[in-house]
Amino acid sequence: MAVVQPAAPGRRAMTDEERNYLLLQRLRSLIKHAVLIIFGIAFMLPFVWMISSSVKPNIDIFEIPVRLLPKSLRLENYIDATEAIPFWQYLWNSTYYTIFATIGSVLSNTFIAYGFARVRWRGRNVVFIIVIATMMLPFQVRMIPLYILFARIGWLNSFLPLIVPNFFGNAFYIFLMRQFMMTLPKELDDAARIDGASEWGIFWRIAVPLSKPAILTVAIFEIIHTWHDFIGPLVYLRHPTKYTLSIGLRLYFTQYGAEWGLLMAAAAMFTIPMVIFFFIAQRSFIEGITLTGLKG
C-alpha cells in the first residue's frame, strides 16, 4: 500500500530513506505499546481474578472451563465474608496497628534524623554508620530473643511488641529523612539562631515544616508495611480476638477446603484501602521510591 505524502509547503518531498525511517519509528512504537499492553494485562489479571471470584456464586466458582468474568453476580459474598469470620474486629485490629505504628515511626524518625542531619556533634558520623549497618541485620536474628523478652514481660497477644519499637526509630527511615534534611539550606537555621530560636525551636518551626515531603514518604511506607505485615502478627498475636486481617484470612480455610468466593471478597476488602490510599498519595509515593533508589 503506497502512502502518499503530500510535500509540505516549503519542504522537499521525502526520500525513500526518510520514509522508511518514519515507518520504522512507527513500527517500533507499535511493538512497544503491544508489549506494554500484554504485560500490563498480565499484571492486572490476578487482581481481576480476585474481584471476579469475589462476586461469583459458589456454583460458578467451580465451573469448567474457567471463566474470567462472572456470568452472574452474587454481591452477598461480601456480606457473608464479614460474617463467616470476625472480619470487622480484624479490620479494626489492622487499622489500630497501622495507626499507632505510623505515628511512632513519623515522630521518632523525624526527631532522630534531625539529630543526624542538622546538629553537629562529636561522633555523629560514627554513630550514623552504625545506624546504616543495622539495616543489614536480618530480622530473624532478633526475632527469638525479642519474642522471649516480650513473653516474659507479658506483652504477648497485645500490639505492644509490634508498636512500641516503632517509637525508637528505624535505620531505613532515619537514612531517608536525613538525606532529605541535609538538602535544606543551612542559612535558615543560622537566621533563626540570630533571632534567638532554641535548637528545639529550629527543629519544630523550621525542619519539621520543610521536611513534609520526607515525613509523608515515611508515613506512606510505614502504612503499607504495617497493613501488609504478616510475620509480626504471626509471632506475637496468637489469640484469635487479636488477629489482624493478615492472620485472620486463613480462617476461611475449613477442613472441607476454602470458601473461595468469601475469601476473595475478604482479600478484596483487605486490598482496596491500599488502592484508594495509593491514588490519594500517588505522587509522594513515586517520589519516595525514587528518592530511596537514587540516594542508595
Binding site: P46, W49, M136, L137, R142, L149, F168, T290
Partner: protein
Amino acid sequence: MFKLRRDPANQPNSWRTDNLPAWGLFFVSPWIIGFVAFTVYPFIASLYYSFTNFNIINLTPRWVGLDNYVELFTADPLFWTSISNSIRYAALLLVFATVFDIFIAYLLSQNVKFLSIYRTIFFFPVLVPVVAASLTWIWILNPRFGLMNGLLELIGIKGPNWLASPDTAMYALIFIGVWGSGRQVIVYLSGFNDIPRQLYEAADIDGASGLQKFWRITLPLLSPQIFFNVVTLIIFSLQSFSEVYIMTQGGPANSTLLYAVNLYNRAFRDYAMGYASALAWIMFLLILGLTLIIFKFLAGRVIYER
C-alpha cells in the same frame, strides 16, 4: 576585640559543634535506647542462645557449646536443603526480576503515552497485601478451577498442579516474585529518565549502534539503580518468608523450604529456640558475607558522576 571573638554570635560554625553536643545526643537518644534494647540485646542474647539447648523442655538454657552448630552442618539435611533452596530462589529471582524490570522501565522511558497508567499497573502488585496476594495466587494456580490452567487450556496445554508438584512449585514462587517487583521498575525508570539525552545524540553523531549505546551509555549510567536494586533484592529474597509460608509451607517434599521458613518452623513450631538461634546466626553471617562480596566487586563499578 578578644572578648568579641569569644562571643558565640561571632562564631556561628564552632559554637554549634562544641557548645551543644548535648542537643545532638538529645535528638538521637530514642535511637540509642532502641538500638540497645531491640538490637544489641537481642543480638547478644541470640548468640548466647545459639550455644545452649534452650527449647520447650529446657526452659532454663544450658550451655552446650558448639553442639547446635555441629548438628546443623553434619546431622540436619533440612539445613542444606533450605540453604540451597534459598540460594536458588534468590539467584533466579534476581536474574528474572532484574532483566524484566529493566526491560519494562526501558519501554516506559521512551516517551510512551499513558505513562502514569502503565506505571501504576506495574506498581500495583506492591499494593496488594502479601497475604491477599498469596491467597489469590493459590486460587489462580488451582490445578482444576484456577485461572492459570484455564488460560493454558485455551492454547491446548494441560497445566500442572503448580504448587503441589516439586518440579514447578519453586518456579511458581519466582514467577510471583517477579510479578511483585514493581518497586524496582519505578527505581529503574527514574534512572533512565536521569540519563542526559545529549549523550545519545552525541553517540548518534559518532554512528553508534543501538546495542553499543545500551552497553556504553545506558547500562553504566543506570549502575547506581542496578546496584541499589541488586543489593536490596538479594538481602530481601534471602529473608523471604511470608509468601512461601502461606502458599506452600515449604512443601511439596521440602522443594520450597526456604531458609527463613525452616528457621521459623524450628523456633515457633518445634520451640527449639537454641537451635533456631544458631540457624539465625548462620543466616546473618551468610547475608553479611554476600553483602561484603557484592560491595567489593560491584561498588567500584558504580558510576555516580554524570
